[in-house]
């Protein structure tokens, strides 16, 4: 197993954000993570990436316990993420944003010219090659999202966590993003994607995990999940079930 999350809980004071969540992720698969707002999806990403510590439970990556590792160490082990609200380094150029992640993300000993070459390759992959020299602050929202993706990819992740990457995109852009997620799978990157757009989740996920109020309420194939009465009641709603 690439990732093993075992009985992970996280509480903030009296709020139980995650409650005994367990699941595993097989290498090469794309996992959809869904649930209503406040169900603990982003918190789960935060604890996996070491951004915040767990209250209890264990997280293993490639068989090794990473529960107590700091975010940069987790990143170097091979877990990358994008944020729901994009957070590029606004005052740096697009190229430097990606270059920083190339330099530090995977191996801390790389020559700058190698990092630059790699950064340019990644920018080409996300169609930002022509904007390499402009400051990230000058990009539009869509391009900032792709820059976020490029920065995450530059850390050479084996597991990539996409936090509502498709939020706010128009249907054509969503389609483009879904195709990109499928391509990630083709190049061997395992993906966990948090998304509210069910069509996108259905078309790119091998398996879907559903969270509600910090607890895992369902897990299974996308086709089974959309018919699960517990999921319909907690998240999808009866309207979705009828369509």
């Amino acid at each position: 197993m690439l990732l093993e999350v075992e009985k992970v809980s996280k509480s903030f004071g009296g709020l139980q954000a995650l409650n005994n969540v367990s699941f595993t992720v097989e290498a090469g698969k794309t996992i959809g993570l869904i649930g209503p707002n406040g169900s603990g999806k982003s918190t789960l990403f935060n604890v996996i990436t070491g951004t915040i510590p767990t209250s209890s439970g264990t997280i293993r990556f490639e068989g090794k316990n990473i529960t107590k590792l700091s975010a940069p160490r987790v990143s170097r082990r091979g877990i990358g993420r994008t944020f729901q609200t994009v957070r590029p380094f606004m005052h740096m150029s697009v190229l430097d944003n990606v270059k920083v992640a190339c330099l530090y993300g995977h191996s801390s000993i790389q020559w700058q010219h190698i990092a630059e070459r790699r950064a340019r390759e990644i920018l080409e992959l996300v169609n930002l090659k022509d904007q390499a020299r402009i400051p990230a602050a000058d990009l539009n929202v869509m391009s900032r999202k792709w820059l976020e993706m490029a920065r995450a990819l530059a850390t050479e992740p084996k597991l990539l966590l996409l936090d509502e990457f498709m939020a706010g995109l128009n249907p054509a852009e969503v389609l483009e993003s879904v195709e990109f997620v499928k391509r990630l799978k083709d190049i061997g990157i395992t993906v966990i994607v948090v998304e509210h757009i069910m069509k996108a989740i259905m078309s790119c996920s091998d398996r879907v995990i559903v969270l509600n109020a910090g607890q895992k309420i369902a897990e299974g194939l996308p086709a089974d999940i959309v018919r699960d009465p517990v999921v319909i009641r907690a998240y999808l709603g009866p309207d979705y079930a009828e369509t």
């Binding site: 975010a71 920083v100 330099l103 990230a136």
Partner: protein, 294 residues
């Protein structure tokens, strides 16, 4: 008032302002990256000044040569201070960081002053070399050698810092961490180490400024707060995020001080900085050269 006097005053303003700029570089760097306001920055300047003074006094080391000792020494002092005190603050949120750093800074200022009086004595001291009174004359203007050295060192320093921040491995990490430590962290940057290096570098810059203070002016155990205040005015004037901007703001403050001394008399000189401080905070809180968040 003759043109010559005005020109000579403006030249003096530029030279004294260059020192203000250098004194503020370290404070600006630490404030910008760690979001920590080190009120004890002036004590580090004082310590740098004394280190140069004793190197000159005891071993006859030229003050400019003493930088090879002073700068690493203050880098080490910064490392220890960060490890012992400031590393604990940076785990808190931004608002808490500033509050706590102010308290720790005041504490350090008091300790620094007391120790300096105890071990260095309360007398004013300055480094008087053979070239201390030398000056160049051109078109009737007098350019004191040691003061001009501050301007040259300041310009070279800003160029080197710019290259360091934009071209080097650590510099990029510092810039990234200054913008968003969480994203930096998820990009694999060791934020704690970056904070440590930044704080130590800021202290080393204070040490360099201290050497220049001991050569151009004088040092005593109570100069710390005065220099912290000067540096703080410059940082507010410049805004965060630009090293050349900080240096230029220092020069502007120097020019403003000498101009006001010319116009209204030298008794108002010190007040000008504080007036500028209030005006800039009121009308342009990000400073003259500061970067606004996009």
């Amino acid at each position: 008032m003759s043109t010559h006097i005005i020109a000579q005053s403006l030249l003096s303003g530029i030279l004294v302002g260059a020192l203000y700029g250098i004194a503020a570089l370290g404070l600006s760097l630490v404030f910008g990256v760690l979001k920590v306001l080190n009120i004890a920055h002036g004590e580090l300047i004082m310590l740098g000044g004394y280190a140069s003074f004793w190197a000159f006094n005891k071993a006859e080391v030229d003050p400019y040569v003493s930088l090879v000792i002073v700068v690493p020494l203050l880098f080490l002092v910064g490392t220890i201070l960060h490890f012992g005190l400031f590393a604990h603050i940076v785990r808190a949120n931004e608002e808490q960081r500033i509050k706590n750093s102010l308290l720790i800074g005041f504490g350090l200022t008091l300790i620094g002053q007391t120790l300096a009086i105890r071990y260095f004595e309360a007398d004013e001291r300055r480094i008087a070399t053979e070239y201390s009174t030398d000056a160049w004359e051109f078109i009737g203007l007098r350019l004191p050698l040691v003061r001009a050295s501050g301007l040259v060192i300041g310009i070279v320093l800003v160029i080197l810092l710019q290259l360091f921040m934009h071209r080097t491995y650590i510099g990029k990490a510092i810039r990234a961490t200054a913008e968003d430590w969480q994203t930096a962290s998820l990009s694999g940057i060791n934020v704690r180490l970056t904070y440590l290096i930044t704080f130590a570098l800021g202290s080393a810059l204070a040490g360099l400024a201290g050497m220049l203070v001991s050569v151009q002016y004088s040092i005593s155990p109570n100069i710390g707060l005065t220099w912290t205040l000067k540096a703080l005015i410059v940082v507010v004037l410049a805004g965060l995020g630009s090293m050349p901007g900080t240096f230029l703001a220092g020069v502007l403050l120097g020019l403003a001080e000498t101009s006001s001394a010319l116009a209204f008399g030298s008794q108002y000189r010190e007040m000008v900085g504080l007036v500028l401080f209030v005006i800039i905070l009121s009308i342009r809180s990000q400073g003259l050269f500061g970067e606004q968040n996009a």
